[in-house]
Amino acid sequence: MNGRWNFSLKRFWAIAVKEFIQMRRDRLTFGIMVGIPLLQLVFFGYAINSDPKHLPAAIVLADNGPQGRTLLYAIENSGYFEFVREIRTEAEARRALARGQVQFIVNIPENFSRDLLRGQTPAILVEADATDPAATSNAIGALRTVINSALEKDIKGPVDYLAADAPPVELRVHALYNPEAITQYNIVPGLMGVVLTMTMIVITGLAITRESERGTMENLLSMPTRPLEVMIGKIVPYILVGYVQVGLILLAAKLLFEVPMAGSLALLLAVTLVFVAANLAVGLTFSTIAENQLQAVQMSFFFFLPSLLLSGFMFPFRGMPDWAQILGEALPLTHFLRIVRGILLKGNGLADIAPEIWPMALFTAVALAIGVKRFHRTLD
């Protein structure tokens, strides 16, 4: 009975010392144990901001009076909007919104100043890309206060009777693509990209390191086969797995969450291939660096974390500081999210999403080049 509770400090210490030695030998694991908290500190501390400001907006200005200009100044001064371009036609405005070039369009109608002075309560129309409700809600909320206080100054003097009554200007907000601000509409399609990133990188990383860890790679390479055959042969099955995942998520999006599917599913599935390739290339590259399966998983996590946080999946992309946006632009998930949301919610066509495809393709090419180069080296 006594023996069971006989705790030897020496034995305990022996095991602890051995563990420390092994920890120190595995440089990568050690680096990641230190690296992950640092990464999280930087991202959560500096990059993430759930109250995005300076959102790009376009103006459709049809009025030449001073009140229209005053209003625009006030809107920009709120800090939430940054007017990046002026647009003439409604069609052009819609296209800019659809491609995500701007997040808002502010329409100041013809005769705005005149109607205002006549006390006819002119309407200004703000169209918002509400695919991500979190990114737009604060800005829209600020708009109403800004407009009311801005015009107070301009309707002083002979026209200050206008300020006496309820708002002198009517604000109409059109939340496009997701008018009811349903978070799931944004999250569920995005999940497709997140799940694919996770599986494609981890699984390919594992599939290849497993061969080297178990010694079967040596056998494989002693047979008449070439590295490219090995790599493609190992990757293709997981591409199919990726499509099964995509299918499941789309099905759930349709049946459980009733996410609108405005665009072409065929286009979505085709573009998914580019995204899958990008992630497989990363997994492949990791597998040539990692010495064992554990390291492959850790490295995947190291890539997954920034993808999750900086891509705009969890937090508004435009809320992040410039350096984080630049990092985010390099990640394939960022572009894929825009594509999925664009196709499903906005009904984007190929021309709309083309600017998001080539960064993913470039990423794939670079990652694959590194992977193939390293893969050759590990043969020797």
């Binding site: 010694g215 079967t216 040596e218 056998n219 002693s222 047979m223 008449p224 086969t225």
Partner: protein
Amino acid sequence: MTNQETPTISMHAESADGGDAFAIDVRDMTKRFGERTAVDHVSLKVRAGEICGFLGPNGSGKTTFIRMLCGLLRADEGSGKCLGYDVIEESEEIKLRVGYMTQRFSFWEDLSIEENLDFVARMYALPNRREIVRQSLDRLGLTSRKDQVAGELSGGWKQRLALAACLIHRPQLMLLDEPTAGVDPKARREFWEEIHRLAAEGMTFLIATHYMDEAERCHRLAFISYGKLLTEGTVEDVIAEARLTTWVVDGPELPKLAEQLRNRAGVEQAVAFGNELHVSGSDEPALEAAIAPYRKEPYRWRRVEPGLEDVFIHLMNRSEDNFS
């Protein structure tokens, strides 16, 4: 690949030594890993149908040499032919005709026996794949267990599976890297019978091993240490070339005697074999002078032919003196 030609040894190999074809004929094979030279200008010739034992201590470069032969590693220096193909340039041709059995079991433990064989057959694009796999299972007596996952097999069965898989494309040359490590004596004996049967049909073998009884079953031996080839030839050649003198002594308290003998000049080794001690040295008079004080009761001495193990240890010690 030249499809018209049947890739037989006689058509490609250079003839030498009275028309005998060499399955392996390489010169100055060298491989460096950074500062370390793992294989240092090793030249080796093995005739078709021969079983060549490849001996050497751990880390002597045996595995590296074998990997260079089958194209897994690129040689830094060296030239020559393997099955008539250029060992540097034509490794793809060589891979098609060589079976390489790795030191560690390297087939897929999560595939069944049959699936493993089927995979290998596909890799070599064998015609009549199913039939070949079936025959292979039959020949090795694995048919009844074909659906068993390879990871569940015992060491001996894993080795049989590995051999069957390496033979499935009917290679002309087999490179076996310590094939019987961890295999029981009965399975080892059966394994060697199979090797001799295949050699008689013309298959060539290069077998890395540590076991002296296995070395003695080889037609020829090559001994490598610290990356250098020290000696080569038949078992008799190797023993004769070592010019070793061995005395056997029995009597009481042999470990103490061994201790004393090891300190005397002329005694290179004093190794216990059961109740006897093998005392060897390469300088015959010096050895006899060294043991002279002990050639009295209660010890009984007799001179014997040195065994392969005595020679093996002798070569190992000598290479340590030379290179370390």
